[in-house]
């Protein structure tokens, strides 16, 4: 299996070289906390050798906790300023990685963007459909609830399609390295998923995507 390209990373205390792509925590030479390479993948930070769509949520959570225990700046109160700064960087990067990967929608978005696939624009047919849905929700509460239910159903259906599209890529080397038809299909699904989630939220039906309001 191919590994991500290596990223040169120097220890801030002794200068020893490391491969930033593996998200190392401590310097092999002096033991100091290392900085985080800006291009490191969130998957590496959470202990996964390479990017993938299917992940075990509880394993991800355990990896996050385990690494938090090791890199949290509170652990380094007695260490140098440089080390404490590195620890702060480490834990911030770790928390950012967790946010990016903990929900399938966001994970897919990360994979699609990393491959360099542009975010899809919505087709006229979809926009018309969406408009109709919104219009139908303008009646009484029962109408609104019917639209919420329908939007939720369509959301679930598209999420299943997304799963079918991306799932097989997990086993193919470098599938998330460059654009492909499958990733473009995923980008189109993501755009539709987002509009459905937005619609449900606007109608008071709850948040289907945890990070709906982010980005």
């Amino acid at each position: 299996m191919s590994r991500p390209a290596s990223l040169p990373l120097a220890c801030r205390v002794c200068g020893a070289d490391h491969d930033g792509s593996t998200a190392p925590i401590a310097c092999v030479a002096c033991g100091a906390v290392l900085p985080v390479h800006p291009q490191v993948s969130p998957f590496a930070l959470l202990g996964l050798a390479r990017p993938r769509f299917h992940v075990d949520d509880s394993a991800l959570d355990r990896a996050w906790l385990e690494r938090s225990r090791r890199v949290h700046p509170d652990r380094f109160a007695r260490k140098s300023d440089a080390e404490r700064r590195c620890a702060a960087e480490q834990v911030a990067a770790l928390n950012d990685a967790k946010r990016a990967l903990s929900v399938p929608y966001d994970r897919a978005l990360w994979l699609v963007q990393r491959a360099g696939v542009p975010l899809a624009t919505l087709g006229p047919a979809w926009l018309t459909e969406l408009m109709e849905l919104r219009e139908r929700a303008e009646g009484d509460d029962a109408d609104k609830q019917r639209v919420i239910d329908e939007a939720r159903a369509r959301f679930a259906e598209r999420l299943a399609t997304l799963d079918a599209v991306l799932g097989p890529l997990d086993d193919i080397d470098d599938a998330y390295a460059t654009p492909s038809a499958a990733l473009r299909r995923a980008a189109a699904l993501l755009a539709e998923l987002k509009t459905l989630a937005r619609l449900v939220d606007d109608l008071g039906g709850g948040k289907l995507i945890a990070t709906l309001d982010e980005r």
């Binding site: 906790l65 007695r78 950012d96 309001d213 982010e214 980005r215």
Partner: protein, 626 residues
């Protein structure tokens, strides 16, 4: 490294704790009292400095000046908030007049300047006096200089309120190692204590109702790891809200319009209300007596109240806890049944109606084995120990209570960091220009859950200039939010279209500049020279006040234990003591105190025997029960 202290800077009371021999310990005064009222008094004849805590109340009774209480409610808030409180609630202070153009500037109170005039005092300065008093207590107790502190803040405090708390610490001469959320600190002290007994793993809700703020946090404990799943709250909801309806009734009965009451009348009425509220924790009905200044006379007043009446008055306030409790559970993805326990924290959770609310909402008997007043300070001291080099197995993973974002076209908020994200963290969003040859971009940073920026808390506004002149949509500006472990935000904006980078860094502020903080630092403490004799007199008055309060309580509970002659003797001594503390003769105050002590001896002895008898009786019942 010098020892670090943990401080619970509360709305009504504050405490300081330190870890000794591995155990958190709240530092107390000579009466065993750990709580320091968060009250600051500036007398008209005091050239510099202020009286803090019980002494502040005594100062207010003794001479003209301004007594500031519950000022935490105004930390990092605009004048409109303070004005709303003045218009709709207790008028315990006057605002320093501000020019109309600067109406949203932070709150300032009008206090005597010691030279016959008045000067402005911010909530930050008031908090700094309280922190300084706690620092002094720690130094006296530890016999060494103390400079490092962990200070707790309500979990639901926003960026401006946190900044203000940090500044107050700095003003008091403390290096603030960390701001820790109050429910998180409570969970740490509670969890480590239980862990020592081999229990306490699992998922808990901390229900923290203090004097002026309400927080509810859902946390997981596991072997020294404390992970906050979600937090919610209301920074304008607390036990103080229970007092005002009672005080209003008292003022009304004495013929004073509550809406026009003077600050000292309001303080008097609130003090009586609080005594009634506290007594109703154990009793079903109370008659609390006190004095209220009406015109030129001190009029004796009585507040007669049943628990049912109190509960009817405070029910609307207690019910406001429901919204945050629901939000915290939903955000944590849990139902009440998923919890292993509900921990009650904060003095206001002693109110039976509050306990009943928690029991009903979470569908279980809440845990009451944490000390509601002291557990927050204890948790802060454990974190302080860790941050000053202690090697305890402890780690807090906290979250940001409120979403952070930038205002976009049409006034809608674009959220960069969602609420309940683990901290520290960062997020970047790229914005593009909307006009051809646009050379500058305005940004408005906000915090809150509402969709429109105008309904969120405004943290900062800034302009990025020097953007290369390109067509609309071609210049790209990356805005990065960095949230640190204290929950404080730094914003950076970088232009990236041409590879050249212009950037601005913004520290959101609540209206005080660094220079202003420095200025206050110079002005407040360096020149404080307290008059020793005055301090001794005040201390003695405080002592008398305590004995008077204890006598009141004893007569209320066990008045039947004394005969008519003994009661008359006690009443004479009480009147004499009240007279003595109104004067300035310290030896007269001491004499009155001794007389009061002698008169109450029989009552004290009989109460003691009664308690012992009760305790023995309970023991016998326990012993015969299998």
């Amino acid at each position: 490294m010098a020892r670090g202290i943990g401080i619970d800077l509360g709305t009504t009371y504050s405490l300081v704790a330190v870890v000794r021999d591995g155990k958190p310990e709240v530092l107390r005064d000579e009466h065993g009292e750990g709580r320091v009222p968060s009250a600051v008094f500036f007398g008209e004849d005091m050239a510099a400095g202020a009286l803090v805590g019980f002494e502040a109340f005594a100062g207010e009774r003794a001479k003209p000046g301004a007594l500031l209480t519950s000022t935490k409610r105004f930390m990092g808030r605009g004048r409109s908030v303070a004005q709303a409180v003045l218009d709709h609630g207790a008028r315990t202070f006057r605002l320093w007049p501000a020019p109309a153009v600067d109406a949203e500037r932070l709150v300032q109170f009008a206090v005597p300047d010691g030279e016959g005039g008045e000067r402005p005092c911010t909530p930050v300065e008031a908090a700094a006096y309280v922190l300084k008093a706690l620092k002094d207590r720690a130094e006296a107790e530890l016999g060494e200089e103390v400079s490092d502190a962990v200070i707790t803040v309500p979990a639901y405090f926003d960026d401006a309120q946190r900044q203000a708390t940090r500044d107050a610490g700095r003003l008091a001469g403390l290096r603030v190692l960390r701001l820790v959320a109050e429910p998180t600190a409570a969970a740490v002290a509670y969890g480590l204590d239980k862990e020592a007994e081999g229990r306490g793993q699992g998922t808990y809700a901390v229900f923290d109702l203090g004097g002026g703020t309400f927080d509810v946090s859902v946390l997981e404990f596991d072997r020294g790891l404390f992970r906050v799943r979600a937090t919610a709250g209301d920074t304008a909801l607390g036990g103080d809200d229970f007092d005002w309806p009672l005080a209003e009734r008292l003022l009304g009965a004495a013929g004073v319009d509550p809406a026009a009451a003077l600050p000292h009348q309001t303080h008097q009425a609130l003090a009586i209300a609080r005594r009634a509220k506290e007594a109703l924790t154990d009793l079903d009905h109370v008659d609390v007596e006190g004095v209220l200044a009406v015109g030129d006379e001190e009029r004796a007043v009585q507040l007669s109240l049943s628990r049912a009446e109190l509960e009817r008055l405070i029910l609307p306030v207690v019910n406001r806890c429901a919204g945050p409790c629901e939000r915290a559970l939903v955000d944590a993805g849990l139902t009440p049944n998923d919890l292993d326990g509900v921990i009650l924290v904060g003095g206001s959770t002693r109110v039976p109606l509050v306990r009943a609310f928690a029991r009903e909402f979470f569908g279980r008997e809440p845990l009451c084995d944490a000390h509601p007043d002291e557990v927050v300070a204890a948790g802060a001291s454990l974190q302080a120990e860790l941050l000053t080099g202690g090697d305890r197995d402890l780690l807090l993973l906290d979250v940001t209570p409120l979403s952070l974002g930038v205002e976009t076209m049409g006034g809608v908020v674009d959220k960069l960091i969602a609420r309940n994200s683990p901290t520290p963290c960062s997020a970047t969003h790229t914005f593009t220009t909307y006009a051809d040859h646009q050379s500058a971009m305005d940004f408005h940073v906000v915090q809150g859950e509402r969709e429109k920026a105008e309904h969120c808390k405004s943290l900062a506004r800034f302009t990025l200039r020097g953007i290369p002149l390109l067509g609309a949509g071609l210049a790209r500006v990356a805005v990065t939010f960095q949230l640190d472990a204290d929950g404080l935000l730094t914003v950076t904006a970088k232009e990236q279209a041409t590879g050249t980078t212009t950037s601005v860094e913004v520290k959101p502020s609540y209206g005080l500049t660094d220079a202003e903080v420095e200025g206050m630092l110079m002005a407040s403490f360096d020149h404080a020279q307290d008059d020793i004799e005055e301090r001794l007199l005040i201390e003695k008055r405080v002592e008398v006040e305590r004995v008077l309060a204890a006598t009141d309580k004893a007569l209320l509970e066990d008045g039947g234990l004394v005969d008519a002659a003994e009661r008359a003797a006690i009443e004479r001594a009480v009147a004499a003591a009240r007279g003595a503390i109104a004067g300035t003769d310290r030896s007269a105050v001491q004499a009155a105190l001794d007389a009061l002590d002698a008169a109450t001896q029989p009552l004290a002895h009989r109460r003691m025997s009664k308690r012992i008898g009760e305790a023995l009786e309970h023991k016998r019942i326990d012993e015969v029960t299998p």
